[in-house]
Amino acid sequence: MEQPVPLPTPDDIKSLVRPDHVHRRAYADPAVFALEQERIFSKLWIYVAHESQLKKPGDFVRTRLASYEVLVTRHSDGNIYVLQNRCPHRGARICMVDRGNSKVFSCPYHAWSFRPDGSLASVPHRKSYPENFSFDDPNNHMQRVGRVALYRGFVFATLNDSPEPLLDHLGPMTEVIDNLVDRAPDGEVEIADSSFTLEYRGNWKLHLENAADIFHPSFVHSSSVAPARRAPTNASILDQDQTRLMLAANGLGYEEWEGIQLNGYAGGHVYMNNIYNQGVLVSQTADPVAERYRAALAARHGAEKTAQILGMNRFNNIIYPNLVVNAQYQQMRVTIPVSVDRTLVRINCFRLKGAPDEMFHRAVRFLSTLGSPASMIFSDDVEMLERCQQGLARDVGPWIDFSRGVGQESRGADGQLSGAASEMPMRVQFAAWVNYLTAEAA
């Protein structure tokens, strides 16, 4: 099944991206995908877990890193390790659950057992192994992945042995992680146990582009906007009108587009300001839950800093290559590429420690409304991403257009600014994409 694909050359990659157009091969060529796995998902810092999932020694989560399945573990030495989920003995997958706690990981085949740092703890019938068989030999350990680094509870890993410092990679995007954590009156967030994983039959970049695309909601989500606008306000007994407001808010018109600002950075990171600022998770003076929450936050930070924290109104903060954080709504999405035309999107929400329980209930509600498989929003997005892939898979065109707003950006010291109607975010993402894919040859 697995066939070696000749990887595209740097010149080949450069030839796929023009200032305002991209060649369909960027989405549809398995060789390009193989190079992305090697140069992007194996070289950059990739989010793998949240520290709140790894409180006690033995806690672990199972996830993917590039083309590998890995376990992110907390060992008794207090450190977090990322291990290939594979027994070095015969190659079997060891762990078959997504999370849990285990003092040892034991291979069910011949019972080699490993500690959460990957080291070999025991083998049955030791004396039948050769005399030079060593427990200290890393070849007999669950293989550790290159590097692990944390930023305020967010655990990143990379297969790169000499990565740039995590802070350099995150750049200005640390602000949104700070903002999420600062929103917790106790100064800490916990990731919710429940999440959704959606699959779409399309390239991973389509999701990132869609998350930065403020132009599409009026069209793609019109079938939800119209019924939500017609529906009576505050009719639901469950959610303080949260669902209806979210659906209705997708009906952005020219006026809303004009007020939104898009920000793009050289590393491929993108976020938008002032897109959606409604519903019970954001400031509403008449809401007793929000008042209790604001009081708790003010007790920690004081009134001025509290206003500053709650005033950060950013949506879809996209940390290249695959993490989307919405601090204001306590949400996060992770894009996981599976193949050139198959992608998983894992959707999580956070609990703000020290905030009223109702704040978490509202975040859970937001998660379901936006990210459930039955979502009246994301399902239409997925349908559109799949239709794009279906078109891009055919060798016609072959150029697709990202020219909207080209030349109208303003350029700052470390990034670009544009209005909402601009396709600047996609141009920024593709400029970074070329840099990453061609970096070693430069």
Binding site: S194, P373, F378
Partner: protein
């Protein structure tokens, strides 16, 4: 044990719900729900908490009516072409509950055909039913999808 006639009326009520979904009569389907009725599809096996644990759907009449209007909108992308479904409901066990109400448990299979693909959903329904005229209204329908915690593609038609 319920008398045969009541058991049969509950069975016919569940079958009516399945038929209305299959024939695309979503407004009629919603009328089977109490004004405060809830449709709940958990995301975790054995989930009891709809507030702290995310649900695939946890919607009351007001949200369901937005969903129904959307199902009737010709423009919904995920509904073009409109999926066709066969909802099968079986193994129906009804019981009397407090206050003249009834509960009903059932197994379901739903085959959904759309464009080039076909999907199969299965699991168990748990109903809380209130008598209404000579039929019933749904106070709560809990849909325990067999693969609720799995990897999903978008779902369009209620199960």
């Amino acid at each position: 044990m319920l008398d045969y006639a009541t058991q049969r009326r509950i069975e016919l009520f569940l079958l009516e719900e399945a038929r209305l979904l299959d024939s695309g009569e979503f407004e009629e389907w919603l009328k089977l729900y109490e004004p405060q009725g809830i449709y709940w599809m958990p995301s975790q096996p054995g989930q009891t908490d709809p507030l702290n644990v995310a649900s695939i759907m946890y919607e009351d009449h007001a949200i369901l009516s937005i969903r129904v209007q959307r199902l009737l909108e010709a423009r919904a992308l995920v509904l073009t072409p409109m999926p066709r479904t066969t909802h099968l409901v079986s193994n129906i066990e009804a019981k009397e509950a407090d206050g003249g109400e009834f509960t009903a448990d059932a197994a379901f299979i739903c085959v959904e055909h759309q464009g080039e693909r076909q999907r199969v959903y299965s699991g168990r329904h748990a109903y809380q039913l209130t008598p209404h005229d000579d039929s019933f209204r749904i106070r709560l329908k809990r849909v325990a999808l067999m693969n609720c915690d799995g990897v999903h593609s978008p779902m369009a038609i209620p199960l």
